[in-house]
Each structure stands twice: as C-alpha cells, then as structure tokens.
Symmetry: C2
Subunit: 341 residues, 2 copies
DNA sequence: ACCGCATAGTAAAATGTTTTAAATTTACCT
DNA sequence: AGGTAAATTTAAAACATTTTACTATGCGGT
C-alpha cells in the first residue's frame, strides 16, 4: 500500500527477483543476459522507479549527505561558504543539511548530535565565535566520540589537531597593513575582533609583522578590540584618540562600515583625511560611496575545498589530519590615499 | 561490529528485549514496571545510546526533514528566507536540506527528485526565475506526482492551485508609488523585473493602481523592464529619457543601487534632483551614503510560516491548498524628497 | 482447582534496499 | 546419457528500528 513504487514492484512486474533488479541497476554481478537487462530497465523507466534512499542508507551505512554547522546563514561570509559547499555537493551527487546555530555553543553541540543521528557522512563545522577554548574542546570531543568525519572551517583552535580548511589570516593582516604602509601611513589604527579568537590573533600578528618589517613601532593605543559588528566599528571611533592615526585597518568589512560612517559623520574626507582598509571584501563594499579597499578571502573556495576533502575521502579521520590553507588577496578600491602628514 | 550502540546493545545489556527498550523510550505501551524503566533509562544514559534516525525513518515513513529549493543562497532574499525556515525547523525538532539551483530549471527538477528519494516530509519551493509558465507547470506536476507535500515560496504561478506563502506584491508596489505621489511626484519611472513573472506583474499593478487613484496618467515610456540585477538598474538610466521623470521606483534594491550609482555618476543629487524607492529593504540599503527608502517584505516570516505550514500539517496536500499572504511595509529613509517641479 | 483478568514483557513482522552464498539452468564435452 | 563447467538467477540475511499481536505470570474470587 506504499505510495512509491518499490523494488519489489519491479520484481513482480518483470517476474525477476529483487536481487536481480538491484544488481542490474547498480551494475553489480555482471552476469545477466542482455535481454533481462533490457526488460528490467524498461520496467524501471516505465514505472519511474527510484530507489528509496533511506533503505539504501540503512544497508550501505552511508547517506551521501554532509552537515554544515554555521552561526548565521544571513551573514554573507557564511552564505558564500554554504554556496561553495552546496555546489561541490551537487557536483558529487551529495546533499547538504544546514544547521544554523545563532552562534550558540549549545546549538553547536545539539546540531552535531542530530547530524550524527541522521547518519551524515561528514560534518563541516564553522565553530561559533562564542566558543572559548574549553567549549571548543567540548564540541570537538563530542564530534570525535561520535566518529563522524569532520573538517573545521575557517577558524583553527589552538591545540586540537584536526582537519581544517581556512584562509591565511596572518597573511591577510600583513597584506592590508603593508598596503597602508606603502601608502606612507605609519599610525594605523586597528579594529580587531575578539582577541581570544585564533583568527583575530593571526590577523593582528600579520599587522605587527608588517609594522616591524618597516621599523614602525607598535602602539597599543591604536588597537581597539571590537567584535566584528557595525556597532563596534562605530564605537572604535569614539574611543580612539582623534588625530592619533591617519589610517584604520578594520578586521572585517562590517566594522569598516561602522568606522566609515562615523568618520563621515564627523566630517572627515575618506580617503584624503583617513584611509580605510577592510577585511572580507563583501560585495557591498564595492557599492559604497567611496568603494572600500578590502582583504579578499576565498570563502567560496573554503566551502568547496572542505566539501571535497570529506567527500573525496571518507576515511579521513583515520589518517593524519590535513590542513588546507587558502591565500587571501587585497582588493584595491578607493578608500586608501597617500598619507599627507 | 557497528560503531554506534544500537537498541540491541541496550537490550542485551539490560536483559530486556528491544521491544521493551523501544516502547519505554517512546513512551508507548504504558505497562512497564518503574524498576524496568529505570534500568533501561540508566543503560541508555550510560551508553549514550541515540536511535539511528535512518532506521526510524524507514519504519515510521517520516524523516522530520524539509527540503528547501532556492536559486542562490548568497542572495540576501534567500538567505533571510532560509534563516526563517531553519529557525522554525530547529524549533520543531526538524532538519533542513538545502538545494541551490543557480536559477536553473533542470536543477529544480533534479532537486525535487532527489529530495523525494531522501524521503523529505515536505518541500519548500522558491521557483527559479528562469521558469516560464510551461516550465513551472513541469515542476509542479513532478512534485505532485511524487506525492511530496510542498509549498511555493514568494512567487505564485498563474493557474496552478497550490499551497503558497508569499508577500503581497501588489500592495508593495502600491505603497512605494503612493509614497512618491504623496511627496508630489507624478512622473515616476519604474524599473521592473522580467514581466512574465507574476510578482513583477503584481508590483506593476500596484504602481498603476496608485497612479490612477491620483488620476496620474500611466506612461509606457517610464517603464523599463529590467531583471533585478545591479546592471539592469544602471542600464535603465541610459535608456530612460533624462528629465522625463523626477523619481524612480526600482522593483528591488539591487537595481535601485544601479540607478543610484549611475545617477550619481551623472552628477545628480539624490534625493533633491531625483528620488528613489527600492524594494526588498536589504540591510545594506541603510548603509548607503544616502540611505535608501525601500519596501520591506517580511521574508524571514515567509520562511517560518512556510515551514510551520508543512510541519504543522503533513496532510497538507490532501486538503484544499492554503494561501498565506504577508503584508509588506515601507521603510522610510532618506532617498525621497518633495518634488520641486 | 479453576476461571477471568490485569500486569509485564516479548516474538515476529514490517520498512526497502544490498549483499552473500547458493541454487538452478544451460552448454559443452566425452 | 552423464558429468562438469559456465552462465544466470535467487533465497535469505542484514541494516536498526517500531508495531502488532501474543505469551506468561500472578492474583483474587468462587
């Protein structure tokens, strides 16, 4: 009384056994007469039979499905990532289950369990930025105890050795800073993300490296610890001492928009009074009144690479973890001018 | 030899039968002694047993999973929608499989089949804008032949009667136009989407209604048929006769950005020379140099409503189709000024 | 001692496939 | 004919659950 046509229906209809149908359809047991093959294929075509993937998954112990855990799909960073993942999945005939955690650690945990229950063949995990080292370890221990292959996305976590595909944040920080230095800037304010995050630290490290390479002293007073929001970008301008910097390097575009709008509101001319470099190279940065120069991360590719890593090699967790680090580049627009002072 | 602990493991461990374990865990067959219950629950807790959802799905014929078919998750419209859907799914203990079609009809079709194969309990379908009436019918016939409950998102399709949750496009078109008229504008250019799409037609209808309500003649020369892209917004300004309009109503924010930037490049002062109203109320519209007034659609709510519709009622397709129409509103910012001429 | 009934628990079937090992049929060779 | 090898095809088990229908045990009442 089932709605869908099953393999047994095809069997009855053709007079062969389910085994025969299955083997012919899967190209196994290459010893069927050509006539039988044709009959079976014909019946399948006519009836529109398609194997129930739930049953297939149960016996094959594989779902050809990936789980993606991110904090918010509305964030363009994650939607780009998701697009990359989904495109690769499609290409390989896989599917994607999306889990939005709203940046809540507990939802990270619950999502991992649910995905494991659903039998996904791999989890792509962009850890909540709410996670400190302890919480991160909790997530990773859980996922490992569940024996689901996984790869971390974008964000490394201190000691824990695991598969990861990310962009080179140190390099990104360096690129942006070096560009400003080359334009003659020495007093470069820095709007960072939360400093307990590895990627933030790495960007800051790149900033310092570029500075010291040009023998420019590092000044703590030019560092503002933000949290990657528009608001924190705005706040930074209230806090940083006016006139103490000629350029600002914001660790993401969103906070760059914040400094941009606050600076403008104060009557500053961008880039002639203050230069700005962002990070992320969001599409909209191009549309700003003065288009924003920004560090471009190959986010889409992070998605495709990560998916490829798992799909190509489900034995992934038995081998030594792999680290794929993609290189950022600088998208030069109009928000930086030569330093006049 | 399976990795995960199964119900049989719990059965052996406790000395009870799998039936007992299952019934206790599912709160069925209420005739077990309290002692037995405790023993079983204890064993479950200690072993970390969680039912294999693939097996559960096979027997229960339900997956508690929704499929979402959209053209591009990077489009903020869709990521908002997806967020709504995912949030509702999470709330109800369901999951979401995401299918990106890159706006290709063939991928719509294939996605529908794959989702049916995976046994999703419902499909949320935002039809590719590439679809004309014929293709749309093909999709709908397929999905109906597969007997998967579904609801169309945002875009209606002429004759085919089905569940749909969408926003009131006619009202949106009216709202925007009326606002411009109230500001004294009479010659209002209109940058539409493809005119074979129902939602475009409806917005245009709203525009005409507002016009005729104020006895302003409709002029074909002020209509530019775009395709919802930045480029088509830019192109429109090249095509429309300069000076023939004092305001423009773009049918989405993206094309509004296009007219905005082209107009600015020509030295126009917005809003004093030309007023602009967009449609979508994308987050970034607020960040523009002169923030864009735009029709706000409750996109997130379209997602939650649609998910709720299916989750709450899997018998959905046996009943008469339901239409949920959400109302748009106008987000007023700074891109409209009183008409001077 | 037997009946009826409530209580506590379980065996077996079912879900739709794949896979393994075996059965059947055909063909060929003496 | 009889035997063996090769060519086809299939029965049954397995995957991990839930569900249906049944069994077993004990107890009170006559």
């Amino acid at each position: 009384m089932s709605l869908r046509v099953t393999i047994t229906d095809i069997a009855k209809r053709t007079g062969f056994s389910p085994t025969t149908i299955s083997q012919i359809l899967n190209g196994k047991g290459s010893r069927f007469s050509e006539e039988t093959r044709q009959i079976v294929k014909q019946a399948v075509r006519e009836s529109g039979y398609r194997p129930n993937q739930i049953a297939v998954s149960l016996v094959k112990r594989t779902t050809k499905t990936l789980g993606l855990i991110i904090s918010d799909i509305r964030n363009v960073f994650f939607s780009n990532l998701a697009k990359g993942v989904e495109d690769k999945c499609w290409e390989m005939g896989w599917n994607l289950i999306l889990c939005n955690t709203n940046d809540l650690h507990v939802r990270d945990l619950e999502s991992i369990k649910v995905l494991a229950d659903k039998g996904v063949d791999g989890i792509l995990y962009a850890m909540a930025s709410e996670c400190d080292a302890e919480k991160a370890n909790m997530s990773l221990n859980l996922i490992e105890s569940l024996k689901v292959p996984y790869v971390m996305l974008d964000r490394t976590l201190g000691e824990h050795l695991c598969n990861i595909v990310a962009t080179n944040h140190q390099k990104g920080g360096y690129l942006a800073t070096k560009y400003l230095i080359d334009a003659g800037h020495e007093r470069i304010a820095c709007i960072t993300g939360p400093l307990y995050l590895d990627d933030t630290k790495q960007r800051l490290d790149g900033y310092r490296t570029a500075l010291s390479e040009s023998s420019i002293p590092f000044r703590q007073s030019l560092i503002y610890e933000g949290n990657y929001t528009l608001e924190s970008g705005m706040d930074s301008i209230n806090v940083l001492k006016e006139g103490s910097y000629t350029a600002v390097f914001a660790f993401n575009d969103m906070s760059a928009y914040g400094v941009y709008s606050r600076l403008r509101a104060k009557g500053a001319d961008i880039p002639n009074d203050i230069s700005i470099v962002g990070y992320d190279d969001i599409f909209f940065s191009e549309l700003l009144d003065v288009p924003l120069t920004s560090v471009h991360q190959p986010v889409y590719e992070v998605g495709t690479e990560a998916a490829a890593l798992i799909i190509g090699d489900t034995e992934i967790n038995s081998k030594t973890p792999r680290q794929v680090i993609l290189e950022p580049s600088l998208t030069i627009r109009s928000s930086v001018a030569r330093c006049k002072s």
